[in-house]
């Protein structure tokens, strides 16, 4: 059996490049008219903000990049958005939905 490196808690900062692991599936549930995150033996229901952020988590963009995109799109201050999504992504990382 191969040794698996002990996992440590991912800490989200503005430089983090978050991504969804292959086994986390963001799906639109047409029958129920909502977005869902399918995870191991769990289902989460993200709000609209979380959906927008998760769609931008491609492992390339940093959290700051994501905040920039959303700031333009919603014509809102980048700093506020950044603070909000760092908190959100930390929560998602702790739930195992995104990896850094």
């Amino acid at each position: 059996m191969a040794d698996v490196a002990p996992k440590t808690r991912a800490i989200i900062t503005s430089e983090t490049q978050p991504t969804l692991p292959v086994y986390i599936k963001l799906r639109h549930d047409a029958g129920r008219g909502r977005w869902l995150i399918l995870a191991p033996e769990r289902i989460f229901e993200p709000d609209d903000t979380a959906v927008e952020v998760l769609k931008l988590c491609d492992g390339q963009r940093s959290v700051a990049d994501i905040a920039n995109v959303l700031a333009k799109e919603y014509n809102a201050p980048q700093g506020e958005i950044l603070t909000d999504i760092v908190t959100m992504l930390q929560d998602l990382a702790d739930k195992g939905v995104v990896t850094a």
Binding site: M1, A2, V4, P6, K7, T8, R9, A10, P21, V22, Y23, K25, R27, D29, G31, R32, R34, L36, I37, L38, P40, E41, R42, I43, F44, E45, P46, D47, D48, T49, A50, V53, L70, Y74, A76, E80, I81, D84, I85, T87, M88, D91, L92, A93, D94, K95, G96, V97
Partner: protein, 414 residues
């Protein structure tokens, strides 16, 4: 950005684990949406009742279904397609031991092709590495491995499961799962014989590379009810384990998700049976009978449809067993006027039937049940017996009290 609340993601309250299928007691306001949708979100597919292990708390019925009554590959593939069309999101492939089915890869492939999230709930001892690779290639999303105790207490683990070498084999398979980059959950049913290992089991799950562990206190239905006097921990032991779970959750935040299920006997309110009968989960037995709950056949007088005769969606919506206890109209007092009636749905119908003779009664796990005190006393007395009775191991030959701990595996396995 719209609001200050730090959580932008809500739990849809449905989780399952090996053998012990249930929904979490935690309730959130979107639960109403799930009910409105009128479609289950999870399907528990019990592919076979064959299992090399003989755990005395097995959640399968005492009357196990024989291999010659099992659905064919084509039947299961049709069930997967019907499930996806119905709006089901996750498939939990369970048993018995699902890897004892030679067509498991074909079933997973079909489920995955339909867009279903696939979860393998396994004891792992029959799995070979190439089979796991094939399952991954077929689209398997997640693996849950049950353990009986920590690896440093392998002898105890193997005694509980009635399978020599099981603990070591599980460890090897867990390693393969992680090597292949698949997410892993460790499920640990907890009882008198391993409750002192709770902290060690959590640490073991981290060592195995699991992202999630279930500290699943045994629920006393079916085989576990038969073995209750052997398995019940004391209230003090339970309280201690609950403290450990709280501490470890904080310590392992972002490393390991720890889910815990409280033993009914020490709870104030019951668990919502399946998150509400006929509300979120549908169960198909090896022979194709469709149940609102894996233990529902223990309730006398209910009639179950089979996927051989009717489409899954029709059974879910109109089947008499699903209609019988769906919603709250069937309730009697004290449930009927209880403010918690849509939180815990009167608890477990099977437990109400087993202990009161009427499945519409309040589950005695509820402190509002007139039988609660008497029922809780049973746990108090049994858990303090100096020498617990021998296990009645789960096996096809039925519930004979003779312990034969080390039986040969059901199939040859290198």
């Amino acid at each position: 950005m719209n609001e200050n609340a730090p959580t932008h993601v809500k739990n849809v309250p449905v989780t399952l684990d090996a053998g012990e299928l249930r929904t979490e007691a935690k309730q959130s306001d979107e639960a109403a949406d799930v009910a409105c949708a009128r479609a289950p979100i999870g399907l528990l597919a019990e592919l076979t009742h064959k299992c090399p292990l003989q755990c005395p708390y097995c959640s399968n019925p005492l009357e196990l279904e024989r291999a010659n009554t099992e659905l064919s590959t084509e039947d299961w593939q049709r069930v997967m397609r019907e499930a996806a069309a119905l709006g089901i999101l996750q498939i939990h492939l369970s048993g018995g031991e699902p890897t004892a089915r030679r067509d498991l890869v074909d079933i997973v492939k079909t489920a995955s092709d339909c867009g279903l999230y696939t979860n393998l709930i396994t004891a792992a001892v029959l799995l070979k590495r190439d089979q796991l690779v094939a399952l991954k290639e077929a689209g398997l999303d997640h693996v849950q491995i049950s353990i009986q105790d920590v690896d440093t207490r392998a002898e105890n683990a193997d005694r509980i499961g009635g399978y020599k070498g099981g603990s070591e084999k599980k460890k090897i398979v867990a390693g393969w799962v992680r090597e292949l980059g698949m997410p892993l959950t460790i499920n640990a049913p907890i009882h008198r014989h391993n409750i002192d290992s709770v902290e060690a089991i959590i640490d073991y799950a981290v060592r195995l590379g699991a992202g999630r562990v279930e500290i699943a206190h045994v629920q006393y239905y079916a085989w576990a009810l038969k073995n209750r006097a052997s398995l019940m921990p004391t209230r003090e032991q339970f309280n201690e384990s609950a403290k450990i779970v709280e501490r470890k959750r904080e310590e392992l935040k972002g490393v390991l998700v720890i889910d815990s299920v409280v033993p009914d006997y020490y709870a104030k309110y019951p668990k919502p049976c399946m998150g509400g009968w006929g509300r979120g989960i549908i169960n198909v037995t090896p022979s194709g009978r469709v149940l609102p709950c894996h233990a529902a056949e223990s309730i006398k007088g209910l009639e179950f449809d089979t996927v051989r005769d009717k489409p899954l969606g029709e059974i879910w919506l109109y089947g008499s067993a699903f209609q019988k206890y769906r919603g709250t109209d069937w309730m009697k007092e004290p449930c009927r006027s209880c403010p918690r009636r849509e939180i815990d749905y009167g608890g477990c119908r099977c437990q109400a039937f087993a202990l009161t003779g009427d499945a519409a009664n309040t589950d005695p796990a509820c402190s509002l049940s007139p039988l609660h005190e008497q029922w809780a006393m049973v746990a108090e007395v049994e858990s303090h017996e100096a020498t617990p009775p021998d296990f009645v191991y789960r096996r096809f030959s039925g519930a004979s009290p003779k312990a034969e701990p080390q039986k040969a595996p059901v199939s040859t396995d290198a």
